[in-house]
């Protein structure tokens, strides 16, 4: 474990990513305390540029809502959607991939054809369709993102399991009379954890992007302030009030970057041989 930390800390990018993530996390936790009023409330003049009034340091939008407050409250929704949809898609992808890889034969064929069915549909278009069918809400957004993002997990797991399946310790477990289920859960899955963690951190980033894009198009939960929504609202006035779209855009960029950096750091720390080669 300490070894893991030394390698992780050795990657400066990963540490920067972790710091950014911590800031976003703190913002989402303390938003209700810092900005006690709803982010939807009009608090000042519309189109107030940043730095003009110290009560609204990042300016206001077309209706006079505080952008800083919107950013702080939006952090919560970005992280929530990012994490929960990733967990849901892991819950779909891991069992499917593991079963396909372990049993092979027709099980593999059936499961992989299903996976490919999801993979060939452009994922963002598919997500839009799903959210449009359901009522736009946080839940529908999480479901939509999870449904479009599990195929890579299933593919990764299938490959890992297939390569582990022929290792001698799996054959030994088979000989000792352990059932297929026990072998998958106890012997195989713990050995696939490293690449899954790395993939998951990248998936959180993608999920945040998808959530922002959906909200940007007005398909987000109408009752929840989110970064994508603020950008979408400021889109038409981009030339007069650049700050409305700029700050949430930076927030999305930094958060997504943070997850990617962390993912890379985890990759180095969990695959030490790879890290050495790069260093």
């Amino acid at each position: 474990m300490s070894n893991f930390w030394t390698t992780f800390k050795g990657n400066k990018g990963a540490v920067v990513g972790l710091v950014i993530l911590a800031i976003v996390l703190l913002a989402s936790i303390f938003a209700p305390m810092l900005y006690t009023t709803s982010p939807w409330d009009m608090v000042n003049m519309p189109f107030m540029a940043p730095g003009v009034d110290s009560s609204v340091p990042l300016g206001t939008d077309t209706l006079g809502r505080d952008i800083a407050s919107g950013l702080a409250h939006g952090a919560y929704i970005s992280l929530l959607v990012g994490f929960v949809s990733t967990i849901v898609s892991l819950c779909i992808g891991i069992p499917l991939g593991a079963a396909a890889g372990y049993f092979g034969g027709w099980v593999d064929d059936v499961l992989m054809r299903i996976t490919e069915f999801f993979q060939v549909i452009p994922s963002f278009a598919f997500a839009i369709v799903l959210v449009a069918i359901f009522e736009p809400s946080i839940t529908s957004m999480i479901v939509a993102i999870a449904v479009v993002s599990w195929p890579p997990v299933a593919r990764l797991l299938r490959g890992e399991v297939m390569s582990l399946k022929h290792r001698e310790f799996i054959e030994a477990a088979e000989l000792s009379g352990q059932s297929g289920f026990t072998i998958i859960t106890r012997q195989i899955l713990p050995n696939t954890i490293s690449p899954v963690i790395v993939l998951a951190s990248m998936m959180v980033a993608t999920a945040i992007l998808t959530e922002s894009a959906l909200s940007f198009m007005g398909l987000g939960d109408p009752n929840v302030m989110s970064w994508g929504y603020i950008i979408g609202a400021g889109r038409t006035v981009l030339q007069q009030a650049w700050w409305i779209s700029f700050f949430p855009g930076v927030a999305i960029l930094l958060t997504v970057l943070a997850f990617n950096l962390i993912g890379e750091g985890l990759n180095d720390a969990l695959n030490p041989r790879l890290a050495k080669r790069r260093g």
Binding site: E168, A172, L175, S176, G177, Q178
Partner: protein, 536 residues
């Protein structure tokens, strides 16, 4: 006596901090003479490969020569720049590696790979390079060298690939050849041919050879001079005949004593009631078979009949591809058979399903070859051993207690709470044995169980197996490519070639009086056989 071409003086190679010892090679000196073969012998971790790498200027990152000199002719190789070293490499000092498959580029034709050697040193014109490549391939005795030159590495056999690697090493007519375990990955008959080839070429070209090996049989076969290394230090050196017949240092004596002798270890035990009966088992692999290609069929196991008695040890020997491992895997049903029966009592393991199979498999367990991949790295060893009994319904606490007892029995008391990576290869193999015993089997199939271990460790593990076998009245099916090991511990030996059983009988009969020509050729090829006979 002529002057040495290479003088290594007080060489010290420092390991990075945190390694198990400060120096990989500690104050070692030896000389290489033109036309002579120096064998450097030692177990894994003795520093023998490191000293070869230092001579080639190929030390891994973080490891460096901290003291001493490596003189090639008049030049000191320590402290040369990478560029100067590159120029010497291949031209004056060349190397042959252990694994010919990974030493060759799988995507390049053989002639291009040999031509590359000339290209790297800016020698010859492109057309001449290819011509020279064919000449070299002829010289190393490849049949049909013109075709071999056009082939890719995967189209050649292991022995042929090693010949190609040797041809590459000889391309620039080096004065010194370093061979790092060049025959370890090869079958005995191929090994004998490659050793013969190295010997001939070395005499013809008056080369100095540094031959690294762990096998005293190989030493007896080709060495002029021997250096024995232990933990980075030279413990004994001298002319081959002297070291082999009259070893001075206890470590050398231990290594030589640990080599199993090629004669039946004991009289065959009196036959007892049959426990397992193999009747006409066959297994054929089919591959390929596209639109334009015929189906490729390999008869891995062909109509094998065998009766294994209670408490009997049966050796199955053969070269790679003889089907011995496939047969072993059929016995435990890791592989389905095409035909035949394997009866244990009145149950047929080749047909059993579900619960029946689970119960049958508990009676026939396996010990695997690779001590590194046969244990799950994420599970504590105690639990790994207990997993089998738990799957068969033993309460967890009881299974764990039994696992601890088993670990103590195989000489690793209190090891249950540790993870596999904390153990050495030999210790892991003991854990593998404990796991196989956990289900109280009647038959154990050991597939090359000691091949990956150093000789001294090998001897200990074999002894442990033999003890346990007697104590628990087990039958043992011992699959190995090493005839000496088979001779030492087996009651009966079955020799396999291309999936068929060519000879079966008591060890004394098979080894001392082989009836089949293939068995004779296997025995003939064992390195150091004559020396063995003298010592016996």
């Amino acid at each position: 006596m002529t002057d040495p071409i290479v003088r290594i003086e007080n060489l010290k190679i420092a390991l990075p901090e945190g390694a198990d010892r400060p120096y990989a090679v500690d104050t070692c000196s030896f000389d290489l003479f033109p036309g002579k073969i120096l064998c450097v012998v030692g177990e894994s971790g003795s520093g023998k490969s490191m000293s070869a790498n230092a001579l080639m200027g190929l030390l891994p990152e973080g490891v460096h020569v901290s003291d001493g000199r490596i003189r090639l002719g008049e030049r000191d190789l320590v402290g040369l720049t990478d560029e100067e070293m590159r120029d010497l490499r291949g031209r004056r000092v060349a190397m042959i590696f252990q694994e010919p498959l990974s030493a060759l580029n799988p995507l390049m034709r053989i002639e291009d790979q040999i031509a590359e050697v000339f290209e790297a040193h800016g020698l010859l014109k492109p057309a001449e390079r290819k011509k020279r490549a064919v000449e070299l391939l002829t010289e190393v005795g490849l049949p049909d060298p013109a075709r071999a030159a056009r082939a890719y590495p995967h189209q050649l056999s292991g022995g042929q690939r090693q010949r190609v690697v040797i041809a590459m090493a000889l391309a620039l007519e080096p004065e010194v050849l370093v061979a790092d375990e060049p025959t370890t990955a090869l079958d005995v008959t191929t090994q004998a041919q490659i050793l013969e080839l190295i010997r001939t070429l070395q005499v013809e070209r008056n080369m100095a050879v540094m031959f690294i090996t762990h096998d005293f049989g190989v030493v007896a076969e080709i060495a002029d001079h021997v250096t024995v290394m232990q933990l980075g230090k030279i413990v004994e050196e001298g002319p081959a005949a002297k070291v082999l017949s009259n070893p001075q240092h206890p470590y050398t004596r231990k290594l030589i004593d640990a080599i199993p002798k090629l004669r039946a270890g004991r009289a065959a035990a009196p036959a007892r009631e049959p426990l397992m009966e193999v009747k006409g088992v066959s297994k054929t692999y089919r591959s390929g078979g596209g639109l334009f290609r015929p189906v490729r069929e390999v008869h891995a196991v062909k109509d094998i009949n065998l009766t294994i008695g209670r408490g009997e040890t049966i050796g199955i020997v053969g070269e790679s591809g003889s089907g011995k491992s496939s047969f072993g895997r059929c016995l435990v049903r890791l592989q389905d058979t095409d035909e035949g029966q394997i009866l244990l009592g009145d149950q047929d393991i080749t047909k059993a399903q579900g619960k029946d199979l689970q119960e049958l498999r508990a009676k026939v367990q396996m010990i695997f070859q690779d001590p590194y991949s046969s244990l799950n790295p994420r599970i504590r060893v105690g639990r790994t051993i207990a997993d089998g009994p738990i799957a068969h319904g033993t309460p967890v606490a009881q299974a764990m207690a039994e696992a601890d007892a088993l670990l103590e029995r195989v000489g690793l008391p209190g090891a249950g709470k540790r993870y596999p990576h904390e153990f050495s290869g030999g210790q892991r193999q003991r854990i593998g044995i404990a796991r196989a015993l956990a289900l109280k089997p009647q038959v154990i199939v050991a597939d090359e169980a000691v091949s990956a271990l150093d000789v001294s460790i090998q001897a200990q593990v074999l002894e442990l197996l033999d003890e346990l076998k007697r104590e628990l009245d087990l039958s043992l099916v011992f699959i190995t490519h090493d005839l000496r090991v088979a001779a030492q511990i087996c009651d009966r030996v079955m020799v396999m070639q291309k999936g068929e059983c060519v000879e079966i009988g008591p060890g004394s009969q098979v080894f001392d009086n082989p009836s089949h020509p293939y068995t004779r050729s296997l025995i003939e090829a064992i390195p150091g056989k004559d020396w063995d006979a003298e010592a016996a």
